[in-house]
Amino acid sequence: MTENAIELKNLTKKFGDFTAVDKLSLDIKENEIFGFLGPNGAGKSTTIRMLCTLSTPTSGSAKVAGYDLIKDSAKVREKIGLVAEKMIMYDKLTAAENLRFFGKLYAIPKQKLEDRIDELLELVNMQEWKHTQISKFSTGMKQRINVIRALLPEPEIIFMDEPTLGLDPQTTFSIRDITRDINKSDVTVILTTHAMIEAEALSDRIAIIDHGKIAALDTPQNLKNLIAESDTSVFGAKITNLTPKLIGKINSLDVVAAVAQQDDHNLKISANGTDALNQIIDVIRLEGGNIASITNSNDSTLEDVFLAVTGKTIRDQANEKAAPTHHRHGQAPKARIR
């Protein structure tokens, strides 16, 4: 764990006037699982695309596996594997044909490639589906193929963009297990995810990215301690007669950083200052809210950190989209519109 697998120096990507990635500087150590967290459009995927040589940086530089991203892009591509959010596979081809096609592009010798395909299919328990067309696979089966496809050339670094998005819990767990296995075989894993639990469970270190910049960077535990040590506190509030209007009132308090609705009755409120809890309770009572219970999250979760660091951004986005909050597995609940 001495050398850096990836070094970013002022890496910047602009699309016209919009700066997707803003002077990002960052070192990712060899053999670590590094998590990128951030709201939609924060610049996670753009960063990954640049590091995979799929997109050219506007300015700045980066070294991937010791090679310069721009000058030695061909060398970089030999060292990396990509598990993209859009699965990289052809529906009309069988699992083996897909793997074989990509393996050939990596110029893996024929016999070695066949052995590798069998080995990887075994890793994800899919030997019996070797000669079945991808179109007959479930999403979970496809994602397992998508993951092992990236492992074909035995990469030093593997990029995983939202690897468990839309998967059932069983497959999600299995993908996480595979990710740990990959990491144990000396592969650096770069993970982007919305799933806080996943980032927390897998990552050695996490960077929370917002507006193309690093908003926070540390181990999951240190990030959580950060919240505990600051004057930011996170409360759970159960209100039996919860209304959108009431949520709006709470949100409009100056001390409140973010409000996330968990379900019909439960709110998660992150607030600043010692008087925050009093003010929040006053507002709820004033609006006729019936408080069933208040829980003080002493052991804050990564979700709390995420909301505390990026809370405002989410509100801005919610103002644009105003989508209703759906609580999907493991995903960050969106804050309500202020």
Binding site: A74, R77, A84, I88, M89, K92, F101, F102, Y106, R149
Partner: protein
């Protein structure tokens, strides 16, 4: 190192091509479409074009306002003439006659679409003929349909001039007899006799004209529509990122896909040829080998345009739109369906800018006239130049678009 790179690029192109071909092979709907499209083109374009055989049984009105001996004889001869023509061609007559009592009744019938024109024999026709005056006939033509109108004018004047010939022959014989001279009436009436010998044996067949051009056009469509489509599909499903994040030259993706599409285009050309020969009696005089070389050259000349479209268009619908914009002038001004020499001069000038014109021209010469490479060398040079120039513009655009 450089030769190694080239070998790797070619190998990767080959892998991409094979992958694309397997995908095509597994797509039954696409395969069927692939075979049906050439057939459809042949049937549709082969039969909608007004060919020599199409003016059969044109419904004509007949209004005899004279009712004299002369007009009755004229009508009788015209009907015989119509049948005489009939016996020399297929089992159909050129015109069918319907009697009307007045010009107005005939005009009403034209307006109702029952007939396309009418012969009107004016009063006094018989008198004029017997007194050595010209016998005028009026032919009404419905020219709201230009194609039918042209046919009627052609057939009517042909029939009337045939009648004139018969009459003139009799008159010349009479005059000869009166002067006690042996005369060949034909030599007096029509001293010049054209004997038409065609380059292609057998009757004129529009499909003979159509098939070679269609082969080139279908090859062109395969790459021009195919390239933007193939790239957009991979971009939109995300598989493109898989190839581009692998250590391969981006050009090998382009090369591989183009090769797969060219094979596909070539396959369709074979379908066109097979259908044309087996189902439509098209005859081939020239070398098939040279013909297929021409198809490949034709396809090559369109690749650059396809790459430009895929590089400039962000998504599939834009790419398809750009291609449609180009395809229509190519199809209709490239001399596939209509001979360029029959177009107005400005269209002829535009058609000279279209590579399809040269490819179709060369193809026709090779297949129908047994032309050799030297005969079509100008076409070959123009196509090569067009292909190389467009590709020289397209490749940098492509490289740039790959690095968004």
């Amino acid at each position: 190192m450089i030769p190694m790179d080239i070998i790797k690029t070619l190998k990767d192109s080959y892998h991409v091509m094979i992958k694309d071909m397997i995908e095509l092979k597994r797509n039954r709907v696409e395969l069927v479409t692939l075979a049906i499209m050439p057939l459809l083109f042949l049937v549709i374009f082969g039969f909608i074009y007004p060919s020599g055989n199409s003016h059969d049984n044109i419904q004509m009105g007949l209004v005899n306002l004279d009712q004299g001996a002369g007009s009755n004889e004229f009508i009788a001869q015209m009907e015989t003439m119509n049948k005489q023509i009939e016996s020399t061609t297929k089992n159909s007559s050129y015109m069918s006659f319907n009697n009307y009592s007045s010009v107005d009744a005939a005009k009403t019938a034209i307006n109702q679409g029952k007939i396309h024109g009418a012969f009107v024999i004016p009063p006094g026709f018989s008198n004029n003929v017997t007194n050595g005056q010209p016998g005028n006939i009026i032919i009404y033509v419905d020219n709201s349909n230009p194609q039918v109108a042209a046919s009627i004018e052609q057939v009517s004047s042909g029939t009337v001039s045939g009648l004139n010939g018969v009459l003139a022959e009799n008159n010349v014989l009479k005059l000869g007899n009166a002067a006690n001279q042996q005369i060949n009436p034909q030599a007096v009436i029509a001293p010049y006799t054209p004997n038409i010998v065609t380059t292609i044996p057998g009757a004129n067949n529009y499909l003979n004209f159509l098939a070679p051009g269609l082969m080139i056009m279908i090859g062109m469509m395969a790459v021009m529509i195919g390239i933007p489509e193939a790239f957009s599909k991979e971009k939109e499903t995300g598989t493109f990122d898989g190839m581009l994040s692998a250590p391969i030259n981006h050009l090998s993706v382009l090369l591989g896909k183009t090769m797969a599409l060219s094979v596909r285009g070539l396959l369709q050309c074979i379908f066109v040829l097979a259908f044309a020969v087996l189902l439509f009696g098209v005859t081939i005089q020239g070398s098939l080998l040279l013909a297929f070389f021409m198809v490949i050259l034709g396809i090559f000349s369109f690749i650059g345009i396809g790459i430009m479209a895929v590089s400039l268009a962000g998504d599939q619908s834009t790419g398809t739109m750009i291609m449609n914009l180009l395809m229509f002038p190519f199809m209709f001004l490239g001399g596939i369906f209509f001979p360029i020499s029959q177009m107005p001069w400005i269209m002829q000038e535009i058609s000279k800018l279209i590579p399809l014109t040269y490819a179709a021209d060369a193809m026709r010469k090779i297949m129908l006239l047994n032309a050799n490479v030297a005969d079509v060398s100008t076409d070959i040079i123009i196509l090569l130049a067009f292909g190389i120039i467009t590709m020289a513009i397209a490749l940098p655009l492509f490289s740039r678009s790959m690095k968004q």
